[in-house]
């Protein structure tokens, strides 16, 4: 019983140690073919959530990397895995552009 409890306590402390560095969710709203904010600062492991208020499907696409489709009036998200600045655009409407600056954690 005790060893189990101790193990539990140890895991809890380890878990608590990770919590302060928890990842954030950053919201980007799409309205009338505009990503806003157009430029955001984030950290590795943060989630970007796009909230699409348009009646059209859009994408957030990084050439040669990730590609997220955001259905009309829906949301979609991506977890940032790498540090660095990325420019993304909508494949359906390439005049829609955004930028994410990802700092290491």
């Amino acid at each position: 019983m005790w060893p189990g409890r101790r193990l539990f306590a140890f895991v809890a402390i380890l878990g608590a140690g990770l919590v302060p560095a928890h990842a954030d969710t950053i919201r980007v709203v799409i309205d009338k073919l505009v990503f806003s904010p157009a430029e955001i600062n984030a950290k590795v492991d943060d989630t970007i959530e796009w909230v699409n208020k348009d009646i059209l499907a859009h994408t957030a696409t990084v050439r040669g990397d990730w590609d997220v489709t955001i259905a009309a009036s829906k949301s979609a998200s991506v977890v940032l895995k790498n540090a660095g600045a990325v420019d993304y655009y909508c494949r359906f409407h390439p005049n829609m552009k955004g930028r994410i600056i990802v700092a290491p954690r």
Binding site: I55, A72, C90, F92, H93, P94, N95, M96
Partner: protein, 174 residues
Amino acid sequence: MLVRFSAAIAAVCLLSGAGFAQSGHKPTDPQIAHIAYTAGVIDITAAKQAISKSTNKDVVAFANDMVRDHEAVNKQALDLVKKLNVTPEDNDTSKSLSKAAADKQAELAKLSGAAYDKAYVANEVAYHKTVNGALENTLIPSATNPELKGLLQTGLKIFQGHQQHAEHVATELK
């Protein structure tokens, strides 16, 4: 083919402002609504032809995007005119647009394979360019109802996106 293409463009150019300037009056809101809706229907028809004719993955994907977007915009346009109690009014610009589009469709129907793909995408670039010019120079400035104007302004952004998308597909086909 070049002659016929130019003829189609010339017909479509009625939209670009010169047609209205010559006739000496600006289009009314019911006419603007009709022109905008017709322009959408034309692109949906062209896209459906592409979906049935093309085997190129990028071309078919682009055509599907056109159907989805233009149907969504036209649905919004219909909802708006209903709400505003405006009855879209047929007019010479809508008629010449439809005539030019029907001619273009017949011309494209004779092509197949890569030749069809190139011609369809080239026409999509030219068509969106023309419609965007008409929106920017004639339809948006002439619209009096602010909600109609707003819808046309969003439409312009969408179709500018389509133009860029079509230009990108055209580059891939080269």
